[in-house]
C-alpha cells in the first residue's frame, strides 16, 4: 500500500512537473516563432519596475515608450518599426543577468538598453559581452569608462559619476566650502562618488572630513547623523532607494537651522516632491541635476518638445497627476540613448544581427551629438574609445521651493584622461 502510494505520488509529481515545464516553455516557443529577422527591430528593456529602483523604472519605461512613439511615427529605423520588450528586473543583479540571457535566447532582441542601478549593470555587462549582446547603459557608474566592461557596452547619453563630480568640485569648493562630509550608498555607485569626490576636492585644496556609507536598503538614518563632524562646511549627499525622503527629512531634523552648506545629488530626491513642509530646510541648498526638473527661464525648444512627449509638466511632475514626480534628472538618458542607437543603426544600414558589428563600429565612430529634439539635455561629446558620453552638468539651487540652475559646467570641465580603449578589444 505504501509502495503503491509512493508510486502514484511519483507519477503525479512527474506529470505535474512535465505540465509545468510545458507551461514555462510555451511563451518561449511563441517568442521564438515570432522573432523573425528583418521585419522589426526588437529592443530588450530590462527596467526596474519593482525593487529599490521602482520609481526610476516607472519613468524610464514611460520615457522609452514616448521616444519609440516618436521614432516609429518618423518611419522607424531603416524602414523597420522598433519594438520594445519590457521585463522587470526587480532592481536585482541576479535577475538582470537572467534577463539578458532571456533577451538573447528567447526574445532574440537586437540590443538591450535601460539599466540604471550600477550593481545591476555591473552584474549584467559581463554576461552581455559573453552573449555578444549590444548593451546600452543608462547608468552613471564609472566602471564602463574605467575599462571594467567590454566592447558591447555603451553609455551614449548620461555622463559618468567621475565626470559629474570632477566638473563640479571646483565650484563646490569655491562657493560652498572645503571641508566636506560625504554621505553615500554603500555599493559600487556610492564608491564612485566617494573615490572621485575625495580626489577632486583634494585637488582643490580641500579635504573630506568624514565619509558615511549607508546601505541602500536602510529605512532609518538618524543614527548615522552623529558622525557628521561639527567642522563640516559642506554636506555632500547622494542617496538612492525607497527611503530617500526619510533620509533628507531626518537630515533636516538633525541639523536644524544652524546647518552647514548642503550639496546633494538629486538622486536623494528623485521622484520626491521638494515642496513639502518637512523639506523646507532645503531652501538655499544646492543639487546636481543631469537635466533640470523645473522648466527654466531659458528652456530650450528641445526640452519643451521632450517634456510634452513624455507627459511631464513644467514642475517635473506627470501631466496626469501633479503628485507623480518624475525622475527628470536621469530619465533623459533613456530617450537620448534610443536616438543614439537609431543614429548608429542608420549609419550601419542595420537590418538585423548580420550588421551587428557594423552597428557597434558606427557607434564607436560617433564623436558627439548636437542639442536637438533627439538630445534635449544638450550637446554632448562621445568618446568611441571609452564608450562614454560627456555632457553639461547642472548645479541648481532651491529657491522658493523650486530648483533653479545657477551653474552649468562646460563639457571641457567634465573631461578626464582616457582610462581604456575598447576599440582595441576584439568583438
Amino acid at each position: 500500500m505504501r509502495v503503491m502510494n509512493k508510486g502514484q505520488n511519483r507519477r503525479s509529481v512527474l506529470a505535474g512537473l512535465a505540465g509545468t515545464g510545458l507551461l514555462l516553455a510555451s511563451p518561449g516557443i511563441i517568442g521564438r516563432a515570432r522573432a523573425q529577422a528583418g521585419d522589426a527591430i526588437r529592443l530588450g528593456a530590462p527596467f526596474h519596475r519593482t525593487g529599490i529602483g521602482a520609481s526610476y523604472g516607472r519613468w524610464y519605461e514611460r520615457t522609452a515608450n514616448a521616444a519609440l512613439e516618436v521614432i516609429n511615427a518618423g518611419g522607424g529605423i531603416n524602414g523597420m518599426p522598433v519594438e520594445m520588450i519590457v521585463e522587470d528586473d526587480g532592481t536585482d543583479p541576479k535577475r538582470g543577468v537572467e534577463l539578458i540571457e532571456k533577451f538573447s535566447a528567447e526574445h532574440k532582441v537586437d540590443a538591450v538598453f535601460g539599466h540604471l542601478f550600477s550593481h545591476v549593470a555591473a552584474a549584467t555587462a559581463p554576461r552581455a559581452g559573453e552573449l555578444k549582446m549590444p548593451y546600452f547603459l543608462c547608468s552613471e557608474a564609472h566602471t564602463l569608462a574605467a575599462g571594467g566592461f567590454n566592447r558591447y557596452c555603451f553609455q551614449p547619453s548620461i555622463s559618468d559619476v567621475k565626470s559629474q563630480v570632477s566638473s563640479m568640485a571646483p565650484w563646490i569648493s569655491e562657493n560652498l566650502g572645503k571641508k566636506i562630509t560625504l554621505i553615500y550608498p554603500d555599493y559600487a555607485f556610492g564608491y564612485d562618488h566617494r573615490d572621485n569626490m575625495t580626489a577632486a576636492i583634494k585637488a582643490q585644496g580641500g579635504e573630506v572630513v568624514a565619509d558615511i556609507a549607508i546601505p541602500p536598503t536602510e529605512t532609518t538614518f538618524t543614527r548615522y547623523m552623529p558622525r557628521i563632524p561639527f567642522n563640516t562646511e559642506v554636506i555632500y549627499h547622494v542617496m538612492v532607494g525607497p527611503a530617500v525622503m526619510t533620509f533628507v527629512k531626518e537630515l533636516g531634523e538633525h541639523l536644524g537651522s544652524n546647518r552647514p552648506e548642503i550639496f546633494g545629488f538629486i538622486d536623494s530626491l528623485e521622484a520626491v516632491d521638494i515642496g513639502i513642509p518637512q523639506l523646507e530646510y532645503l531652501e538655499g541648498t544646492h543639487f546636481w541635476e543631469g537635466h533640470a526638473r523645473y522648466a527654466q527661464a531659458d528652456q530650450t525648444e528641445f526640452d519643451k518638445f521632450y517634456r510634452e512627449k513624455v507627459g511631464v509638466d513644467e514642475n517635473g511632475a506627470s501631466v496626469d497627476d501633479a503628485r507623480d514626480i518624475s525622475t527628470y534628472a536621469h530619465m533623459f538618458s533613456v530617450w537620448e540613448t534610443l536616438f543614439a542607437m537609431k543614429q548608429a543603426m542608420e549609419m550601419a544600414d542595420y537590418k538585423g544581427p548580420d550588421q551587428k558589428i557594423a552597428f557597434l563600429e558606427a557607434m564607436e565612430s560617433i564623436e558627439g551629438f548636437e542639442a536637438s529634439n533627439e538630445f534635449p539635455q544638450g550637446e554632448k561629446l562621445f568618446n568611441g574609445k571609452t564608450h562614454q558620453a560627456f555632457s553639461h552638468q547642472n548645479i541648481s539651487k532651491v529657491t522658493d521651493g523650486k530648483l533653479d540652475v545657477v551653474y552649468r559646467t562646460s563639457i571641457e570641465e567634465t573631461l578626464y584622461e582616457d582610462e581604456t580603449d575598447y576599440t582595441q578589444m576584439s568583438f
Binding site: 521602482a54 536602510e218 547623523m225 561639527f230 536644524g256
Partner: protein, 295 residues
C-alpha cells in the same frame, strides 16, 4: 564630533523608539505563538499592511493630517485584523494548526499579501504626513517629537494589552487556552474562536506598529521583512510565548541596536542581535526570560 553625553542621549532616544515599535510587533508574534503554537511568518506583512492602510486613510480623509492619522490608527488595524481572522478561518483552521503546515502556509500568505500589495499599491515608497511636526532642539541635534510620541503610544497600547490579558474575561479565556487546550475546551471555551481572535489581535498589533512607524519611514511593499526578522529575534531571546520576556527582550534589542548603531555601526548592531539569538538558542533555548509557558 559630539561629546559623549549628547551622543548617548541620541543613541538612547533612537533605541527607545525602536524598542517601542518592536515591542508591539513582537508581542503580536509572541501572543500568536503562545496561545496557538503558530509561527506566523506573514507577521511582517500585517505590519506592512498597517502602513499601507495609513497611507490609504491619508488619501481619503480630508483635512488635517492628524485626523487621518487617528482614523488610520483605528481603521487600518481593524481591517488587518479582519483579514487575519479570515486567513485563520480559510487556511490555518483547515490544516488543524499543524506546526509545519502553518509555517509553510504563512510563508504562502506572506507572498500573496506582498504581491497583491505590489499589484494594487504599487512598487513605490509613499510618504504619509505625521499628525504634527515639531522638532525638539538640543544644543547638539534636533529630534522629531513625533518619534517620542510613538514611544508613548506603544507604552499605552502595551499596558492596555497587559490589562486585557490579566484582568478581562477574554484575557482569562486566552490564558486558559494557552495553558491547556483540551481542558479549556472541556470547560466550554470555544477554542477555535479564541484562536481566530488571537490571530487577529496579533496581526492588529503588527498593523498598529506599521501605522505608528509610517510617518517616519514611508509605506513600501517590502517593508515587512526587517520587523519580521527583529520580532523573531526578540521573541527567541525573550522566550516564545512569554509576554514579559518579549517586552524585556524588545527593550534589550531595541536599546542595544540604538546604542551600537550610533556608537559603532548599524551592521555591528545586527551582528550583535544575531549573535545573541545564536547564544540564546545554544545555551538557554527557552529564552532569557522564559520560565514557563504561562503569560
Amino acid at each position: 564630533m559630539m561629546d559623549l553625553a549628547p551622543y548617548l542621549l541620541l543613541a538612547g532616544l533612537e533605541g527607545l523608539v525602536m524598542a517601542s515599535v518592536l515591542m508591539l510587533t513582537a508581542l503580536g508574534l509572541s501572543l500568536v505563538f503562545g496561545v496557538m503554537r503558530v509561527v506566523n511568518v506573514a507577521h511582517g506583512e500585517f505590519y506592512m499592511l498597517g502602513a499601507v492602510g495609513a497611507w490609504a486613510c491619508a488619501q481619503f480623509v480630508p483635512g488635517h493630517p492628524a485626523l487621518a492619522f487617528c482614523v488610520a490608527l483605528v481603521v487600518a488595524p481593524l481591517l488587518v485584523g479582519m483579514l487575519a481572522y479570515l486567513a485563520d478561518w480559510a487556511i490555518l483552521k483547515r490544516i488543524n494548526y499543524d506546526p509545519e503546515g502553518t509555517i509553510v502556509s504563512t510563508i504562502g500568505m506572506l507572498y500573496i499579501i506582498q504581491q497583491l500589495t505590489l499589484m494594487s499599491f504599487g512598487p513605490d515608497a509613499r510618504a504619509v504626513d505625521a499628525p504634527f511636526y515639531y522638532t525638539i532642539r538640543t544644543p547638539w541635534f534636533g529630534y522629531s517629537s513625533y518619534k517620542l510620541f510613538t514611544v508613548v503610544m506603544a507604552l499605552v497600547l502595551v499596558a492596555g494589552l497587559w490589562v486585557m490579558l490579566k484582568r478581562s474575561k477574554w484575557g482569562l479565556v486566552m490564558r486558559a487556552t494557552q495553558f491547556d487546550r483540551e481542558t479549556a475546551q472541556n470547560f466550554g471555551i470555544p477554542v477555535n474562536r479564541v484562536y481566530s481572535i488571537v490571530f487577529a489581535i496579533g496581526a492588529m498589533l503588527a498593523a498598529i506598529g506599521g501605522v505608528l512607524v509610517v510617518p517616519n519611514q514611508q509605506a513600501h511593499y517590502l517593508m515587512g521583512g526587517d520587523p519580521l526578522l527583529l520580532s523573531f529575534v526578540v521573541v527567541i531571546v525573550g522566550g516564545l510565548g512569554s509576554i514579559p520576556g518579549t517586552i524585556a527582550a524588545a527593550i534589550l534589542i531595541g536599546m542595544s541596536d540604538g546604542l551600537l548603531s550610533v556608537f559603532f555601526s548599524p551592521t555591528a548592531a545586527k551582528i550583535f542581535s544575531t549573535l545573541l539569538v545564536a547564544f540564546v538558542l545554544v545555551f538557554k533555548p527557552e529564552g532569557l526570560f522564559g520560565r514557563s509557558n504561562r503569560v
